[in-house]
Structure formats: C-alpha cells, structure tokens
Symmetry: none
Subunit: 299 residues, 2 copies
Amino acid sequence: MSGSVRERLLACLETASKADRTIANFMLSQLSSVPFETAASLATKVEVSEPTVGRFCRSIGYKSFKDLKEHLKQDIGDKPWLVSDRLRDLRDRAKAGEDHLAAGLELEISALVAIYELARTEEWARLVKRLATTPNVYATGFQTERGMAQILVNQLQYLRDGVRLLDLAGGNFAELLASDASQSCLVIFEARRYSRLARELAIEAKEAGIPVTLVTDPFCDWGRGLADEVFVVPTEFNQFWESTAQMASLANLLVNGVFLELGPKVEARMETITRLYSRFNGYVGEPAIRTPKSENETT
Amino acid sequence: MSGSVRERLLACLETASKADRTIANFMLSQLSSVPFETAASLATKVEVSEPTVGRFCRSIGYKSFKDLKEHLKQDIGDKPWLVSDRLRDLRDRAKAGEDHLAAGLELEISALVAIYELARTEEWARLVKRLATTPNVYATGFQTERGMAQILVNQLQYLRDGVRLLDLAGGNFAELLASDASQSCLVIFEARRYSRLARELAIEAKEAGIPVTLVTDPFCDWGRGLADEVFVVPTEFNQFWESTAQMASLANLLVNGVFLELGPKVEARMETITRLYSRFNGYVGEPAIRTPKSENETT
DNA sequence: ACATGTTTGTAAGAAATATTACATATGGTC
DNA sequence: GACCATATGTAATATTTCTTACAAACATGT
C-alpha cells in the first residue's frame, strides 16, 4: 500500500468493509480537520468503535491513527505532477525506509510552498519595493548564512547599483550604521544557534532608523519587534544536517520581484554588467564588494 | 484575554517571559503545523519543559495546549493549510494567471526532485566519499554562483578541516593548482552566464590530476570530459530572473552525505567550532560553554 | 439452519500526553 | 549581597489516547 493519505483512502473505498468505508469517506470529506481529531473523537462521529479506527488505519498501511496524521502533515497530495512518477518513486522509497534522504524531499517541497506563500504577503511587496528603490542596500549573514546574503547581493547587483554585502571585516558596521538612515536598508539572513552579531546589528540598525528585514528559521525569537519584516523559512528536513537551502529560493524570488519592479530600465545595466564580465573573462569585479578571502580560510 | 489564537500569540509577545515568548514565536512561525504537535514535541523543539508549554497556553486563556489546538481549528476556518491544499491553491492561482510567481513553484519542485535523484547516483557517492576523505577540498563559483560555493564551504568546515573557498583574489589559482594533486579536489559551481574562468580552472585542474566536480545548469556544454562528475541542476523556472537556488539544496545534501560518511567522529569538531563561534560572536540561544566574562542578553 | 470466516464492539491494559506539586533558578530591588 | 517575586524545570501523578485479547454479530456458502 502506498501513496498519499488521500490516495490510500480513495483506493480503499472499493474494497473496504462498511465501517472502514464510512471512516475513509469521512476522512476524505474532512481531511483538513483530521489532524484535530483523535481516534476516539473520530470513532464517535462516524459511530464506530475506537479500535475500528485504529484497525482501519493499519489496514491501509499506517501504524496507527496517529501515524496517519503524521503522514498527513507532510503529504503533498495526489495532484498529477509534472514530475509525478519520479516524485512518487522517491516518496515510496522514503516510506519503505530504503532511502532516508528522500524523506527530506517532501519537507523541502513544503518549505518551498511556504516561501511562495511568503511572496504573496504585504511585507514581501513592501520589501521588494524597498530593495528596488533604496539607494543603499545591505545584506548580511553570518557563518552558514553568509552564502545566502552573498547570493542575494550578487544577483541584485545585476539589477541595480548600491548593493553591498555587509560583514564584520572592518570590525564594526559603520559602513551601514553611520550612513544616512533614510538612504539605506538592511536584510539579515539568520538561522538558529548563530551569532549574536545578527541580533545586535538589528538592534543598532533599528536604533538608527534603518529598515531591517530578517530572514530566519522558526526558532529565532528575537526578530519580531526588532525587524520591520520577518520572513520565516522552514528548516527542518529530518536530515542529520539541517538546511536553510530554501533561503536561496527566497533570495531569488526577491530578486525576481525587484526585477519586475524596476522594469525594462534595468536591461541596460544588465547588459553593461554582462559585457563587463565578459570583458574581464568573468573576473569577479564587483565594484562594491571586498572579496572577503580572509575569513573563509581555516588554514 | 480574547481573540483568535494568532492574535493572542501576537499580543503576548510584548509582555511574556522569555520561554513564553519563544513558544509564542515558534507557534506563530509554524501555525500550520501546530495541530500536529503535542505539548511535549513542541517543548522539545523550542527547548523548554513540557509544563511550561501547558502553563503558557493557560496564561493566554486556554485550558491546555489541546484546547489551544481546538480553537486553532476554528480560527483556521476554511483557509487551506495542509501542505497539499496550500500547494493546490498556489497551483490554481498560477493557472488562473492571477499569480505569476506561483507558476515557477512547480518547476522549482521538479528541480528539487532532480537533485534528490542525483543524490542516488554512483557519482554522488563517489563525490561524497571524496569530500569526506581528501585532505584539501576547494570549492569555487563565480558571479552569482559564488554564494553557492560559499554555502558548501561554510557548512563543510563544520565537519572537517581543510575546506577552502577558492577565488581569484590572488590573481591565480596556485593555492589549488600548485598543490599536491593527490591531496586535493575541487567543486565548481557554474551557471548560465559562464565565466571562462570556471572552464579554464577545470582544464588546469584536470591537467594537474586534481579531481573536479562540476555543478551546473543544463546549458553548460564544456563539463563532460573535463570534470570527473557533472551534476546538472535545472534552473529554468519561467521567472524573469532565472534561479540556481536548488544548488543550495544540492550543497546541503552533499554536506549531509559527508556527515553520514564521517560518522560520530565529527561531533567533537562540531562542538569545537560551535564553541569557537560562541567565543568570538557570542550566542543568542543555546548555552555553549560559558566563557568567563560572557552573558548574552542585553535586553 | 449450520459452519466458517470476516467484521465489529467491549473491556482491560499499555503507551502517550498533560497536570500538579514542589524544588531550583533567575532577575530585579533595596 | 540578601531578599522577594517570578519563571522554569523535575518528577510523580492523573488523564487521555491507543492497542490487544477476546467475544458477539454478521455475512456467506452449503
């Protein structure tokens, strides 16, 4: 037995016994409130006994009602996909326990969904506009999130001038903090157990009246109140090593938004930059960035 | 105390204690998966004790955590919140042409699937092993791919020594190219606006006998033959601005693989690095080793 | 009607989840 | 620095939720 919860429920409608069919049917019609149910509450509603619910769940391949709920949590659904077969294949492996990695896939997908939802919010629109119009845009991230900031910066630089990666190379953040607040904004990438720097930077920036956006994981608890916008990116994928990879998608969507905001006028710049790159054989010549060789070296 | 769950959570952020704020914050960030949580599971995630969760719920006017969930059920109403429903919702909008962004979602998902498929190949296993065992690991990327290389490097450095971001700051790549080939390997991130650098670096590295891995998009045509492994990441998402965001997922999966390969012995190192970070940056959250003169909160 | 296998319910027990009482820690105040 | 009030954790306890064992009901074929 395999497939999403919904699929399994549908499948069993054919063959199942009366009580089982009732249960399956009820769950299908109430799928989104199933997580709030308990085996007993559901049993009452459809007027069967509690063990019947448990047995039913087991009969369609779950360990228990609770297990079914657990799967529901991550279920991506049964819609035909562009990639359906391949995805299904991976998912089946994951469920069969053959492939521990694939288990993370669904979580990554749901994180992506979350990102795309973020991109529809008020805050998002506000940030995009700010990134498009503020003369000086700074992005920063420490430790493993540094690369994310770099991605945002590198891409934004294609579209506009005045974008910089902020770091502590100079010992303080004067570059941003001593600048004209009305001309600057800051995006911080942050994730759990990381630096105090991010927080203190946010505090100072707020103090200085500089708009701050925080992109972080669900565990960060200092953002609200300090940052003008907080975008929470799911990061738990049940891997041994947790991932903030979806922040890259977020950064990209932001850039896309800025592109749309700026409109055709960016094309001249993009062509110039492209030409410059090719002129220098792709030499990394971002004007505004100090290429920070120093702090990546362990040597 | 009244209002929706969301409102109450927001309201209490102002006044609540540290632990309570952490809980409220986490719930707000993950509202749609709260129904699947249990007081204990939530307590673990935010690292407080179970009774604290219960007390918190009571403090904002619910009878218990379960009671909060019950109310959440009402609040959520008919808003879609199972991942599958949310996904469906986005897809529908995309189809209706209301939401141009969402159109890219599906493509991003399929790119993710492609990544996870890559992670099952021979070549992948080989690369993981190499990244785990080669004394000197270099990663590089130019222009917009620089951040990807940085992500890989920053994360790998948590697990092992001898990982470096390679760049042209010094004017040549002697650091790698003049090193002992049997002790080094190279990962190149590359995409559409190819810099000639990447290719020439690959040529030289191959010449020198250094194993080369190329992570690139489907349009790159110079990889095979030059690189020992070529991983092709889909990059066309029908946005105005194309994305290599999934390379971050790839990098992360690689790191995860290396973690598994190295096994428990990395933990000592991870702790050391964590401690070092906390030594120099300070911690916001988890109390690592308390250095003589350290207290973290400035609140 | 009877035997057989399947389905379902009952009730007891096992596991999980949540609460309570109390001890310890923390932060602020004098 | 000692005190208080508040916040948090620990461990025992209560409660809810789930499972198991078994018996009753039901359908089906003879």
